[in-house]
């Protein structure tokens, strides 16, 4: 297995990195493409399946031309049969392959819930660990231009509820490469969730292969007054907000990106909340019954005495995604909402 060493290095590698500031800059999109390219290059059992993975669009560029390098047998277009081909990918994984299944829109995963939840997530457990399903299911969250109710859903909340699934949701180019490689290397099914609005973001991304341990969060910005736990595209929004809050209001926010929603890095959140006494969770899913609720309930339980204020959440409103631009605009939260809420949470303590 070419993967074991890579994984072993994970933890240490992340810190010993030639100071995240130096090195070449690459987009989130390209980082995804590179991770898959390198994985297929070192391991013949890795292959990509998905509707349109070999077409001129190349899944928003993330699989572009990989079919030319590895052939259409390893970068495989598919019939529109989501439950079926998910089962096919799982079967291939059971038989020793490492499929990367790609969905251009997360909404389509709802057609393959049976294979993901009833089969992939349970296969190892049902057979007492005698079988494993090393499959990576990439899905992309869209937004904007009237995508509407069926082409924009962030369903990470559903998968985070399922034992046996790992749920990864990276927000930076550096993380997306390391976590995608870690997901491909992983023995278990990993739901790998990307946000299209992050695709053009650049970061320092090492050329070599590296993995980031699944289940480890990251402190994106240090602060003392308030902890903001931000997920996926809410991380850049939180950074924008934090900058303004510091410059205009002297409020110093600490921002944490869990990067993995399951398993969740509770320690890193608890540590920060112990320091700040306040937690705001900025998620990209629906409020009710979502990941933000899950995290809030844990922290409220385990940090009961550290909290000086109720945990607040910024999530999507409890409605399907509307089509009209003005409604879309109102539907998605952003930096402004974070700023408003942070200030409200800190009311009383004027600075």
């Amino acid at each position: 297995m070419p993967w074991t060493k890579l994984q072993a290095d994970a933890a240490h590698r992340e810190h010993s990195l030639p100071g995240r500031r130096r090195g070449r800059r690459v987009t989130y999109r390209e980082a995804i493409r590179e991770a898959q390219d390198q994985a297929m290059n070192i391991d013949p059992s890795v292959f990509i399946m998905g509707e349109g993975v070999d077409d001129p669009g190349g899944i928003f560029g993330t699989t572009l031309n990989l079919d030319k390098t590895y052939g259409r047998d390893r970068v495989m277009d598919l019939p529109l049969a989501e439950n079926g081909f998910t089962g096919i990918a799982i079967g291939a994984a059971i038989a020793g392959m490492k499929p990367i299944l790609v969905h251009m829109r997360m909404d389509f995963l709802l057609l393959s819930m049976d294979q993901i939840v009833n089969h992939a997530a349970k296969w190892r457990y049902m057979f007492g660990g005698r079988q494993t399903v090393p499959i990576t299911i990439r899905s992309i969250i869209g937004r904007g231009w009237g995508s509407a109710a069926q082409h924009s859903q962030s369903l990470h909340g559903l998968f985070t509820h399922i034992p046996g699934l790992k749920v990864v949701m990276p927000s930076s180019a550096y993380d997306v490469k390391g976590l995608l490689l870690a997901s491909i290397a992983d023995e278990d099914p990993v739901m790998f969730i990307e946000h299209r609005w992050l695709y053009d973001q650049e970061d320092h991304v090492p050329e070599n292969m590296y993995t980031i341990a699944i289940g480890k969060g990251r402190v994106v910005r240090k602060g003392t007054d308030m902890t903001i736990l931000a997920i996926s595209h809410m991380v850049p929004e939180a950074l924008r907000a934090a900058k303004i809050l510091e410059e205009e209001h002297g409020i110093r926010c600490e921002i944490i990106d869990p990067r993995t929603l399951r398993p969740l890095d509770e320690k890193i959140i608890l540590k920060s909340v112990k320091k700040t006494g306040r937690l705001l969770i900025a998620d990209y899913g629906w409020n009710t019954g979502g990941v933000a609720a899950q995290i809030a309930s844990i922290i409220a339980e385990k940090a009961f005495n550290d909290l000086n204020a109720p945990i607040r959440r910024i999530c999507l409103p409890d409605a399907p995604t509307p089509g009209a631009p003005v409604l879309e605009e109102a539907f998605y939260p952003g930096a402004e909402d974070i700023i408003r809420l942070v200030r409200r949470m800190l009311k009383g303590q004027d600075r």
Binding site: E51, G52, D55, P56, G57, D77, L78, P79, L80, A81, E82, N83, G84, D107, F108, L111, W145, G146, S147, A148, A149, Q150, H151, P317, D318, A319, P320, P322, G323, A324, P325, V326, L327, A330, F331
Partner: protein
Amino acid sequence: MTDIPKKTLIHLYKLMLRIRRFEEKIVDVYCDQDMKTPVHLYIGQEAVAAGVCANLRREDYVFSTHRSHGHYLAKGGDMRGLMAELYGRKTGCSRGKGGSMHVVDPEVGVCGSTAIVGGNIPLSVGAALASAMQKKKRVAVSFFGDGAADEGVFHESLNFAALKKLPVVFVCENNFYATNSHQSKRQPHDHIYKIAKFYLMPGVRVDGNDVVKVFNAAQEAVKKARTGRGPTLMECRTFRWKGHVGPECDIKLGCRKQEELNKWVKKCPVRRFERELLKGGTLKKAQLDRITREIDGEVHDAYLFGRRSPHPGVKELLEDVWKLN
């Protein structure tokens, strides 16, 4: 063709032309960036919606897809409401909540359209089941593509409809591509219509660019359905001229070949039928021009209506999620 009454022929022509001109308007205005919705244009496939819907009654049911404009208009959906919906306006047929992929007009039996490929097929079977249980003699129709025929739910729907002999017509518009994926990359065969035989229902293959052929085949299918003789599957072979989504052509992007497109443009359902009408003396050039002018007027009116209509209010964001008692 001869056995079809003249007014029906003219009706068919108008149905097609309205779709064509409506969508050409979209192409014209899309670059203004005010129509913020993913448009899947129907240009090139008009004969299918027209030929089928000309056989339907107002109270019959139609369930559509992401490529919804043609079905909506052919079934008699309000043009202003459609245009306003594309503009995401409060006056849209879906009150601005749906956009291009989610259009509805219950008054004329446009029950809605889904952006989930194949999702509308079982819905049409359900409407047919309701019609049968209510003894209403209403016919349900679902339009869907060759890609939808990849989906298991397509088979589940045909099986059930055949089992219960329901009044539904399955109209598969085989334009040979699902997004940029050719049928041959997704199916080992090129005979979608033959699946009907397995379910013991009639299955017919039709030239989807010949509105008369579509009309005749649909007439037969609709009659069967309405008289309790069960479902029919129609495979209408046709082609979309534009890219999968958006107003541009996709040839330069390398999605499809120029020759392939040319071949089909030659068989343009509208022009082709126009020639026949003229040749057969059903219509004179002058009349054709008047029809075109009328339709263009209607399209322009719809455009102005849509563009000038008010946007929804932000408070509407949380309305119509559900009704609490």
